[in-house]
């Protein structure tokens, strides 16, 4: 069979049920194979949309997402999703067409050095040099993408090789001598960690996206509840611990709660699980958690002591390590009463500084209220995706996630335009779930073309645009830190989102009245098929509380 027909067999063997992509000259053979290949392919309108859809699929289902593109511009259009997947450790396999081997390096038509361009932002990549290599490369790509610290893997296939006849034999093993993720965690270190936790007077558990990736939410929850440990999650970790809850402090970091940030600031022991001490968490590094010792559990050894030196480093994945840590910790039989004083301090902050905003007295929709209204309209049951900006932070603050893989957003790269295609991917991956996107009016325009994909395939996402007419987060920074000198942040009343929706064959709605908002949202959700809802909110509202960039947690404002 042709190499591309073998490719279809490999995808099926990997359990792939859907891929996203857009054809071109260099991957014509692949697209020919799709005709009888038995793989569901969704034609997107821009490769970036396909890439983010594959990410959304992967984040919501925990399976590997797959995106296809042709050579040259098709491949370069994937740059943002690939980088995004790298930053947020999302398992996606990207398969690109390449020019014929005889044209490689000649600036052939639609030639781009895809392997070279993407090298710094992939977990690994394969340039196919012989058609016979293809099946093994595909399986290795999936293996690498999904195991250890997940991430994007790219396979670049020259057009002539993809048409070549090969002897296809199913591949049942992978041979990667240089790749052996350590999952188990060192038992001695784990015992040390248990002891340190039992002795701590002011401990905090700080959990990140690694817990979600390792499917370790149950272990995390059990561990946190094996004592009265306070727990906080990063933006990527939301849902890893069920919110709301007595022991839940809310999100931490730049727009986290005061309780979470102050607890980190005063902690004597911080146990980081699958989190990487990003600058959005630490603020000013030299003043971060000055009294704390650190336990750092991560499957990626390069994360440990990268930003903050760990006193007890544990290399292993959250699921394995937490399971063992629970056993070790229980064996000690620590006295929960020692945490009494710590909790009264934390509860003091919780009471004094709850997440709050000044609501409007009339029809005006405050952006925070919009998120609360959506929570109510969805019964807190939806998968929520978001773009990047103020709306993203309000979504993270005001929508409680009771389980992992409910919250799908672009954290590390902060990619505007992520939300809509990611919702599309999540909805394809989870057809029985309601999927809503909380979009920014700026961000949504960066991948609005995928509305056509949703309409054509009847992918019933509900996109709620938090329309403030601004690149709101930038406006906020200009207001707060640049003396209110607004520079290119006002987008006016453009476009007319209702008309845009209709042009794409999607139901469009405009909501402007707070008093009927919840019911109106319910109506939108009840509509069969994709819906784009333009929600007009207060234009100049700021996202608070906030640790100004480069400052310490104690310096939170708002």
């Amino acid at each position: 069979m042709r190499a591309v027909d073998a490719l279809m067999e490999c995808l099926k063997a990997e359990g792939v049920d859907v891929v996203f992509g857009l054809p071109g000259g260099a991957n014509l053979p692949t697209y020919d194979a799709f005709v009888d290949g038995g793989i569901r392919h969704i034609l997107v309108r821009h490769e970036a949309g396909g890439g983010h859809a594959a990410e959304g699929y992967a984040k919501a289902t925990g399976k590997v997402g797959v995106a296809f593109a042709t050579s040259g511009p098709g491949a370069t259009n994937l740059m943002t999703p690939i980088t995004d997947a790298m930053m947020d450790s999302v398992p996606v396999v990207f398969i690109t067409g390449q020019v014929r081997t005889e044209l490689l390096g000649t600036d052939g038509f639609q030639e781009a050095d895809t392997i070279g361009i993407t090298m710094p932002v992939v977990k690994h990549s394969f340039m196919i040099q012989h058609p016979q290599e293809l099946p093994r490369a595909i399986h290795e790509a999936f293996h690498i993408a999904r195991t250890g610290r997940p991430g994007p893997v790219l396979v670049d296939i020259p057009q002539d090789l993809s048409r070549a006849e090969i002897d296809y034999e199913p591949v049942s093993d992978v041979r990667l001598p240089g790749y052996q993720p350590r999952l188990e965690g060192n038992q001695k270190q784990i015992r040390q960690a248990a002891k340190a936790l039992a002795a701590a007077q002011r401990p905090v558990i700080y959990a990140g996206g690694g817990v979600v990736n390792a499917n370790a939410s149950e272990e995390l929850t059990e561990f946190v509840r094996s004592d009265r440990f306070p727990v906080t999650c990063t933006l990527m970790g939301l849902g890893a611990y069920p919110a709301p809850d007595q022991q839940w402090l809310g999100m931490l970091g730049m727009h986290g709660t005061r309780a979470a940030n102050y607890a980190m600031d005063e902690a004597d022991l911080i146990c980081a699980v699958g989190a990487r001490f990003d600058d959005r968490i630490t603020g000013k590094l030299s003043e971060f958690a000055p009294r704390a010792k650190f336990i750092h559990i991560d499957v990626d050894p390069a994360e440990i002591s990268k930003n903050v030196p760990a006193h007890i480093p544990i290399v292993g994945d959250a699921k394995h390590v937490l399971a063992k840590l629970i056993v070790e910790y229980r064996a000690i039989g620590a006295d929960p009463a020692r945490l009494e004083a710590w909790w009264s301090r934390i509860d003091g902050w919780r009471q004094k500084y709850p997440l709050a905003y000044e609501d409007s007295a009339d029809a005006e929709i405050k952006p925070q209220y919009m998120v609360q209204a959506l929570f109510e309209a969805t019964g807190g049951e939806a998968i929520i995706t978001s773009d990047v900006g103020q709306h993203q932070m309000w979504a993270a603050q005001y929508y409680d996630f009771p389980e992992p893989r409910r919250w799908v957003n672009s954290g590390g790269l902060g990619t505007m335009g992520f939300g809509l295609p990611a919702a599309m991917g999540a909805a394809v991956g989870c057809p029985d779930r309601l999927v809503c996107c909380i979009a920014g009016d700026g961000s949504v325009q960066m991948n609005a073309q995928e509305l056509a994909t949703c309409a054509q395939n009847n992918i019933p996402i509900k996109v709620f645009i938090m329309n403030n007419g601004y690149l709101g987060m930038v406006r906020q920074w200009q207001e707060l830190f640049w003396d209110g000198r607004y520079s290119h942040v006002d987008m006016g009343e453009f476009p007319d989102f209702v008309k845009l929706a209709e042009a794409y064959g999607v139901t469009g709605m405009r909501l402007e009245d707070k008093r009927t908002l919840v019911d109106d949202m319910k109506r939108a959700i009840a509509i069969d098929g994709p819906v784009l809802v333009d929600v007009r909110v207060t234009r100049e509202e700021n996202t608070y509380p906030m640790i100004p960039a480069g400052q310490a947690a104690r310096e939170m404002v708002g």
């Binding site: 392997i115 070279g116 090298m119 710094p120 977990k123 690994h124 990549s125 340039m127 040099q129 690498i144 990667l176 001598p177 240089g178 790749y179 600058d279 590094l285 030299s286 990626d300 050894p301 390069a302 002591s305 990268k306 902060g414 987060m473 930038v474 920074w477 707060l480 830190f481 640049w482 003396d483 100004p548 960039a549 480069g550």
Partner: protein, 185 residues
């Protein structure tokens, strides 16, 4: 939205106050890799991304034809190398890395020197070459080519000695290094 949010210009001192740890010594990294295309670019890219200068780099086959060895030196006084070695470990085609301890390592480099040698100077030059156990590998009327093998220090010392004669050209391979004793590098 990542940058400090103020209008104040950033001073050069602030820019230079980097918090990363430097070791203060030269590091010789011996890296075993699968012999696959692109490996070297991946390794070099990790250094380039951090703005690190690789001082020397050699690549060659090993006793196993599927495996190559990369020997790379980098100045730990200028660059914190801990993060970069951890990142190197993450490359799928990298099998093994050793940060060689100078005391437990035999390191050698080969250098070729083309030196101007008009008549009178030639004898003196030959003498110096002999002291350094250099080999004259080519002689023409106006120049000689001398081959020297040794540690980086020795080669630099030789360079200093012949420079006054008129050093026309110098080529160095960069170090290769092997650990002492029975165990593998």
């Amino acid at each position: 939205m990542g940058e400090p949010g103020t209008k104040e210009p950033l001073s050069l001192e602030e820019l230079e106050a980097s918090s990363n740890l430097r070791t203060g010594r030269k590091h010789v990294l011996s890296i075993l890799v699968e012999n696959k295309s692109g490996v070297l670019t991946r390794i070099a890219g990790l250094f380039a991304r951090r703005g690190f200068n690789i001082d020397t780099l050699t690549v060659g086959p090993t006793e196993d034809e599927q495996i190559s060895r990369v020997t790379l030196t980098v100045d730990g006084a200028l660059h914190p190398i801990d993060q970069v070695t951890k990142q190197l470990h993450k490359l799928i085609n990298v099998l093994k890395i050793r940060d060689l301890e100078p005391a437990d390592t035999v390191a050698r480099e080969l250098a070729l020197f083309k030196v101007a040698a008009d008549g009178v100077q030639r004898g003196e030059l030959m003498q110096i070459a002999e002291i350094f156990r250099g080999k004259v590998v080519d002689v023409t009327k106006r120049a000689v080519i001398i081959e020297v093998t040794g540690t980086t220090d020795k080669i630099e010392a030789f360079e200093n000695m012949v420079r006054p004669f008129g050093l026309i050209e110098m080529m160095r391979t960069g170090e290769i290094a092997i650990s002492r004793g029975r165990s593998e590098t």
